[in-house]
């Protein structure tokens, strides 16, 4: 992303202020709902079109375009962005852009790298340079991310006649004016970049993770809106678990579609536990949301205990009437900080996740490991709170002896795997430089195909794979050689028909709270077994691993999903169990799927692939 050049010797602003609805138009002029947020001040053109996002206001119901907003107009700049308005599509464009950027920046910062949203390495998409956002794509109560269009499509619709809550009956509801909907769909798009294979339903958790994680991001971002946060803290007397807009998702949408309440909530019914019976991805995902929120809430309570003691002279009993604004301000700051910490923790987990077949348990382990690496001393025991919250909901990682923090860390493989060799080490240096450049303000996206920096076809030549690999060719070759040499230890197969794909590689920079710069390398390998596709409804059995190494090439963590024909007998046994689980999952889906008896035979073989569609997932 390129910053605008300075003019007349005055440095350009680092951030661009923009206005949004903090929740959605349902709250209207409620204090705090008109929030001002800022995003990085990149060069933008009317749309807005930036380096990674472009807002295209095409309406397929009306078959027309709407005027794009030019956020660089002095009139708009002077007022810090257009005022919230339902009637002006240009405000809609601004809000979609602002919230999408905010979400994207949260990922950039937490992961320490710039996430690219183009689709040039995606074979079934038209090679779009940016993620496209269509604020009024169609008429319908739905919004979804479409990988093939490399776009997020937002619908608009009329509220139903009865029980529309604060909406007017028949009022037009725009999904693109809901912070939660935008953040949720953006997260889908980003997760699909980080782990493209998480679209394949190979176990009940995979799609549920996609949904739950998207809700987690939307939810935790609520706590960055100070005005609304303070108001709600005052009103709920610091109990953020009260059913307020802070813990509810997509209120307007929920009411407008006749649900009589917000679409989803961060709170679960006490005693809800994960079971096979909870299968619908949003419903299953909401257990994950509730667990993370619970962990967040416990940590928040620990962090504000001292403030409450000070404010109440040690009694802990808040006085009658309004709380002191100073107390509310301080508590709000703690709530924001805790939310940001949990948000970062969740996002960072991605570097420690397997490339395929994720489960909620994997997510917990990844989150704990990532956070442990960055913040060994966990002052408020945020990790402990998380573990407890997951335990209470019956989310148990497979294959761990206990739920103590040490046993949840991924397996340390320093003594089991040889270090990456010197060839790789020197290439790693190059990759570092490239990654550094991505953060440089003068760096511009390379749009041309120039030499070795290109995404390569390396070892991803398997027919039917949607993705090409996004790593430097030479490095990919080195990593491939390493994986080949250590296949058994990595749980990979050496069968000639199973290529080892290098699915991704990136260096990670992070600053630990103590100021220490932490550098890690994360490489992902994957393999596919297409022999049983028919039995598995068209979704192949995949294996692979994520390897985390330190900057000197020492391998530290291995997150493995082994292959059946791995040379290591223990891995092979785990893989067989995983294959059996996938088959059982297909059966369970068939039973739930009302389409089963009516589907034509030709579509039967690919029925699991049909689930890989956010449009349907979000309710057609």
């Amino acid at each position: 992303m390129r910053r605008p050049a300075s003019t007349n010797g005055i440095a350009p602003a680092a951030r661009r202020p923009l206005k949004i609805f903090a929740s959605d138009p349902l709250l209207g002029r409620t204090f705090g709902n008109r929030a001002r947020i800022d995003v990085v001040n990149e060069t933008i053109e009317p749309g807005p079109v930036g380096a990674r996002l472009e807002v295209i206001d095409y309406d397929s119901a009306q078959k027309c375009f709407y005027q794009p907003v030019d956020l660089n107009l002095p009139a708009i700049l002077l007022q810090g962005g257009l005022e919230p308005s339902e009637a002006d599509p240009r405000f809609h464009q601004q809000m979609v852009y602002a919230v999408a950027m905010r979400t994207l920046e949260n990922f950039d910062r937490a992961l320490g790298r710039v996430i690219q949203l183009g689709s040039s390495n995606r074979r079934r998409s038209g090679g779009f340079p940016r993620l496209r956002l269509f604020p009024h794509a169609f008429y319908g109560a739905n919004a979804f991310y479409s990988p093939s269009l490399n776009a997020v499509l937002f619908g608009y619709f009329r509220a139903e006649a009865d029980d529309v809550g604060g909406n007017l009956p028949g009022q037009t509801v725009f999904t693109c004016l809901s912070h939660d909907v935008i953040a949720h769909e953006m997260t889908h798009a980003i997760v699909d970049r980080l782990r493209p294979l998480f679209m394949e339903p190979s176990n009940p958790d995979v799609l549920a993770f996609h949904e739950g994680f998207a809700d987690i991001i939307a939810l935790l971002q609520h706590f960055s809106f100070q005005d609304i946060l303070k108001e709600q803290l005052q009103r709920t007397r610091l109990d953020i678990r009260s059913p307020t807009i802070l813990v509810q998702l997509a209120q307007q949408f929920g009411f407008a579609t006749g649900g009589g309440k917000a679409l989803r909530s961060a709170l679960d019914t006490p005693g809800t536990r994960l079971s096979d019976a909870i299968a619908e991805p949003h419903q299953r995902g909401s257990i994950l949301v509730a667990a993370v929120f619970d962990g967040f809430f416990k940590t928040y309570q620990r962090r504000i205990n001292d403030l409450i003691r000070i404010a109440t002279g040690g009694t802990g009993t808040l006085p009658q009437g309004d709380l002191h604004p100073d107390l509310v301000n301080r508590v709000a700051a703690e709530a924001s900080r805790t939310a940001q910490r949990v948000l970062d923790m969740c996002i960072r987990a991605f570097d420690y996740m397997p490339p395929v077949d994720v489960t909620f348990g994997d997510f917990l382990r990844a989150m704990i490991t990532a956070d442990y690496e960055l913040v060994p001393q966990d002052e408020f025991d945020c990790r402990g709170a998380m573990i407890e919250a997951f335990r209470m909901r019956g989310i148990f990682p497979a294959g761990v002896g206990s739920l103590a923090e040490e046993s949840l860390l991924w397996e340390n493989v320093e003594n089991r795997l040889p270090p990456l060799d010197s060839g790789a080490a020197s290439l790693i240096g190059k990759a570092f430089v490239k990654a550094m450049q991505a953060f440089d303000t003068t760096w511009e996206r390379a749009t041309s195909s120039s030499g070795a920096d290109d995404p390569t076809q390396f070892s991803s030549a398997d027919a039917g794979e949607d993705f090409e690999v996004d790593v430097n060719h030479d490095l990919a070759a080195e990593l491939h050689a390493y994986a080949y040499a250590n296949a058994a230890a990595l749980g990979l197969s050496l069968a000639p028909e199973r290529k080892i794909q290098v699915r991704g590689f990136h260096p990670v920079f992070r600053v630990a709270p103590n100021g220490r710069l932490l550098i890690e390398l994360v490489a992902q390998f994957a393999q596919v077994d297409n022999a049983t596709n028919d039995a598995l409804g068209g979704v192949p059995f995949r294996g692979g691993c994520t390897l985390v190494a330190s900057s000197d090439g020492r391998c530290r963590y291995l997150i493995s999903k082994p292959m059946i024909d791995s040379a290591d007998p223990r891995s092979a046994a785990l893989a067989r169990a995983r294959h059996a689980q996938q088959a059982a999952f297909v059966q369970a889906c068939d039973l739930r799927d009302a389409m089963t008896p009516y589907r034509a035979a030709a579509r039967q073989a690919n029925r699991m692939r049909e689930l890989m569609d956010f449009a349907n997932l979000h309710g057609g």
Partner: protein
């Protein structure tokens, strides 16, 4: 049918006070008779439960969407049933009429005028048929709106391109025809207000506590476990068709002329741009793809609707003495799951001695878990079904095989010749005897 039937009829004298004495052994042998009428693709099951010298009759459904060659048209089936429940005094009597759900293949027969003279004590329907219950009305209205819209949309649709698309549309048409309220209006009228004898209407499970078990003077000695449909909001959600783009399109189609209002421009005209902004990556195929991306196929919506209505199915487990007879209607996954996970009901399912195979033997109306883990060996099962060219996967042969593997005796209405010895087969009827 001729001789045996007549004898049976005489034996099953309705009036409890009558001391005519059984003329046929079965009643005295404490056997429940379950008769499956060959209605084609549909359900009609008549239970006769001996009660002292009397016999109690329960009719589960009476409907069909496609007659079979052997069974003949629905009218004949209804006449046959009415004849079978007519007592020697010439009055047709049924103690309880159960309409599991409002699909045509389960209720169409009730549009026959003959029912006006049948004396019925009680009519049971799922709670979603309750005339005044707010949630029930909401669900019904939603389902009927979608059905009407989908029907209109399918009628107006241009000819399908290609054989596969045409076949798919036929499947969808079939499903919608089954759900269309208009088609079933007369039948529902009978169920809600017809029959003689001023029957009491029950909408099950009732809202009040104790709704899981029903006992009624109409069926003395019979405990009725009401397994579904649940009133749990999580299960109810399955009764709602998805409300995405297609849904709104269909609502517009249902509303007819009102459809125009749906496509009112969302913004004032001055905001409409004439051309594409230069920096957009917008390809010529985008408009078409965007318009397509959000909409489900008509088939998918039809199936969602089918599932929604099947989800309202009344699922009953009749406990007579030591026997358990399971009638799941066309209950689907949501209801089944609720039952299989219920600590009290689960053990009861392990004792089932008669099972009416759900949804005409389709794959997702009988959970594998139920067959493999719970259904006891030697159970008797019946499937009322017909192989229709448009729905070749109903019944699912794998399911029937699984049942047979459990040494369950299975009879299919469309293959009377294949019914095991233990069933009594006469033209148009297969009868099972379940001791209790």
């Amino acid at each position: 049918m001729a001789t045996t039937k007549k004898a049976a009829k005489k034996a099953t004298t309705g009036g409890a006070a009558k001391k005519t004495g059984p003329r046929r052994r079965p009643t005295s042998r404490r056997e429940i008779s379950v008769r499956m009428y060959d209605v084609g693709f549909g359900d009609a099951f008549l239970l006769q439960i001996p009660d002292g010298n009397a016999v109690r009759r329960v009719l589960f459904d009476c409907g069909s969407i496609e007659a079979s060659a052997a069974g003949g048209p629905m009218k004949g089936c209804v006449e046959r049933i009415v004849r079978d429940v007519t007592d020697p005094d010439g009055v047709a009597r049924i103690d309880v009429v159960v309409a599991t759900h409002r699909h045509r293949d389960h209720v169409s027969g009730f549009d026959n005028a003959a029912w006006a003279d049948v004396e019925v004590k009680e009519v049971w329907m799922p709670w979603t048929e309750h005339p005044t219950d707010k949630e029930a009305r909401r669900i019904r209205e939603l389902q009927s709106k979608v059905a009407t819209g989908l029907s209109a949309a399918l009628a107006a649709a241009p000819p399908a391109a290609g054989a596969a698309a045409a076949a798919e549309r036929e499947v969808a048409r079939g499903i919608v025809a089954n759900a269309l309220v208009l088609n079933n209006a007369e039948a529902m009228k009978t169920l809600h207000g017809g029959f003689s004898g001023r029957p009491e209407r029950r909408f099950l499970p009732v809202k009040e506590a104790g709704s899981r078990l029903l006992q009624t003077p109409a069926l003395p000695g019979v405990k009725i476990h009401v397994l579904g449909p649940s009133r749990d909001p999580a299960v109810i959600r399955d009764m709602d068709p998805p409300k995405g783009e297609s849904y709104l399109r269909l609502l517009a189609a249902a509303a007819g002329s009102d459809g125009a209002s749906a496509s009112l421009p969302p913004f004032a005209h001055e905001f409409v741009a004439d051309s594409i902004s230069a920096s957009w990556t917008f390809t010529s195929t985008d408009p078409e793809q965007i318009a397509q991306a959000g909409s489900l196929s008509d088939l998918a919506v039809a199936v969602a609707l089918d599932k929604a209505v099947n989800g309202t199915s009344l699922m009953l487990l009749l406990e007579v003495g030591g026997s358990y007879l399971l009638f799941p209607g066309d209950a689907q996954w949501g209801t089944w799951l609720n039952v299989l996970d219920d600590a009290e009901w689960r053990p009861l399912l392990e004792r089932v001695s008669f099972y009416k195979i759900g949804h005409h033997g389709s794959h997702n109306a009988t959970p594998r878990r139920f067959v493999a883990d719970l259904l006891p060996r030697g159970c008797c099962a019946m499937a009322s079904t017909l192989v229709r060219t448009i729905w070749p996967d109903i019944p699912k042969s794998g399911l029937l095989t699984a049942l047979l593997d459990k040494s369950t005796t299975v009879a299919r209405s469309d293959e009377p010749a294949g019914a095991p010895q233990s069933f009594r087969v006469s033209p148009g009827v297969i009868e099972a005897r379940v001791p209790f």
